[in-house]
């Protein structure tokens, strides 16, 4: 578990984002330190996923800044004017941030192993043999050594999601983003994916996750951020956020998970 003394990895300040007239993010501030597991919670529509997607520029943010290792993501400021980086520069930044999606998004024309290898060979420029070795290592680590030649359509949702995690983590990202990665899974498949994530968290991977798995968040996260209406309404250690909700909105939100959370102790 990372302490507050660990180096600052991700720093977001005043991030805003609108879709047309609808302001989704109204100025988000967030810090993630190296080795930390930070969870974004909140009702749907509160902007969690949009914020996550701004971090690797799958969505463009409008004002504010997001910095990874001190380097601003997506834009540079030149004589007070904000300019978008080139696609090549943005791609290089994205390569340092891994992402796992709600709907897995495995490349459908590739086996599990090829899915993991693609970024290693094409983005990292690793020789095929080395990429294969790395892919096999990670597929083994997520418990899919015997499924590496299977295509996505031959795998269950839980298995596909574990391949997707292997694909992201094999790139050795500085930060790993998880966007509601268990929401599309059948209930009996959720545990296998959460187990892999817990394993990664223990190994010191820096993780930022959007999740509705409150028990998991409570057990694994170092820092919990409650988002409401496009702003950070409360943030702190899990015990603090879950046991001393400062606003009626957070109390109401947590109330829905009451049975689960009291079970967690």
């Amino acid at each position: 578990m990372a302490t507050s003394k660990a180096a600052l990895l991700l720093q977001a300040r005043g991030v805003t984002k609108s879709f047309g007239d609808l302001e989704i993010l109204k100025g988000i501030d967030l810090d993630v330190r190296q080795g930390q597991v930070v969870a974004l919670i909140g009702a749907s529509g509160s902007g969690k996923t949009t914020f996550l997607r701004c971090i690797n520029l799958l969505e463009e943010y409008e004002r504010g800044e997001i910095r990874l290792d001190g380097e601003q993501i997506g834009y540079r400021v030149e004589s007070r004017e904000r300019r978008r980086l080139s696609e090549a520069q943005v791609s290089a930044q994205r390569a340092r941030i891994g992402m796992v999606f709600q709907s897995f998004n495995l490349f459908p024309h590739m086996s599990a192993e090829q899915n993991v290898m693609l970024g290693l060979t094409k983005v990292r420029g690793k020789p095929k043999v080395e990429a294969q070795e790395i892919a096999r290592h990670w597929l083994d680590r997520v418990g899919l050594a015997d499924r590496r030649d299977h295509y996505p359509y031959q795998l269950s949702g839980g298995q596909q999601q574990r391949v997707a995690i292997a694909r992201a983590v094999a790139m050795e990202p500085r930060l790993l983003l998880f966007d509601e990665v268990t929401s599309a899974l059948d209930p009996e498949l959720v545990a296998e994916v959460l187990a892999v994530m817990q394993d990664l968290a223990r190994s010191g991977m820096t993780m930022l996750l959007v999740s509705h798995e409150m028990l998991f968040v409570r057990q694994v996260a170092d820092h919990v951020v409650f988002m409401d209406g496009g702003v950070v309404a409360q943030a702190g250690a899990p015990a603090e956020v879950f046991e001393r909700p400062a606003t009626p909105r957070l109390r109401q939100f947590l109330g829905r998970f009451h049975g689960i959370l009291t079970g967690a102790g």
Binding site: S91, F107, H109, K122
Partner: protein, 222 residues
């Protein structure tokens, strides 16, 4: 008709001509499909581009070709281009050029539909591992589109092979032209045309079977 006496010996005597004609037709069809795929891909990207001029040019090309009879295009290319000073094309080259442009317009529509049908999620996954725009196209979008459009590709190859019969109009020695030659030289009407028919039929069916095997090989998407 009942009095017609079949004499197949003229066919055996001209068998080599028939086979050469068949291979020429197949060759022209395959070449046109390949060139047509390249044209079609470029035109499909142009139609989906941000640039209005590109969009319009691609649209105009597709509509011009699709709303004009192929035979007319064949004549325009063979008789018209030399008038404009383009004289280096022989009959076969001229026909392959026409058929390629024709295939290009149809493949452009196939590829446009294919490109539009690729789920955004695959592209996002490719972005997320840091792939550059052309890498995303090369390793994710195009391979997926190829698998989606494979059945249309087979149908187009069969159509193009049948369309090579129009080359007879400019005396390219393909199957239809050869059948007419044999007919004219030997007066064996039924034998000549039945042979050509059978060769077209068998070849088209064989193409369909072969490409269905290819489709099964690449069936990993569903």
């Amino acid at each position: 008709m009942l009095n017609y006496n079949f004499n197949w010996s003229v066919i055996w005597r001209n068998w080599d001509a028939f086979l050469d004609a068949l291979l020429l037709g197949l060759g022209m069809a395959v070449l046109s499909l390949l060139v047509g795929c390249i044209i079609g891909l470029l035109v499909a990207y142009a139609r989906l581009a941000q640039n209005r001029v590109l969009q319009w040019a691609a649209w105009a090309y597709v509509e011009l070709i699709r709303n004009t009879p192929l035979l007319l295009l064949v004549f325009m290319c063979y008789f018209g281009l030399p008038e404009l000073g383009i004289r280096f094309l022989d009959k076969v080259e001229s026909f392959v050029l026409t058929l390629s442009l024709y295939a290009g317009a149809y493949m452009a529509e196939v590829f446009r539909a294919g490109l539009s049908s690729i789920p955004r999620q695959y592209v996002e996954a490719a972005k997320a591992i840091g792939m550059r725009p052309w890498q995303r196209q090369r390793w994710v979008v195009l391979p997926v589109m190829f698998r989606i459009t494979l059945p249309s590709l087979s149908n187009n190859l069969i159509s193009l092979f049948k369309d090579t019969s129009l080359a007879a109009a400019i005396a390219v020695p393909e199957l239809t032209f050869t059948a007419r030659q044999v007919n004219a030289n030997t007066f064996r009407v039924m034998e000549a045309w039945l042979t050509a028919t059978a060769l077209y039929l068998v070849t088209c069916y064989a193409i369909a079977l072969a490409l269905r095997a290819v489709e099964r090989r690449y069936a990993s998407i569903r």
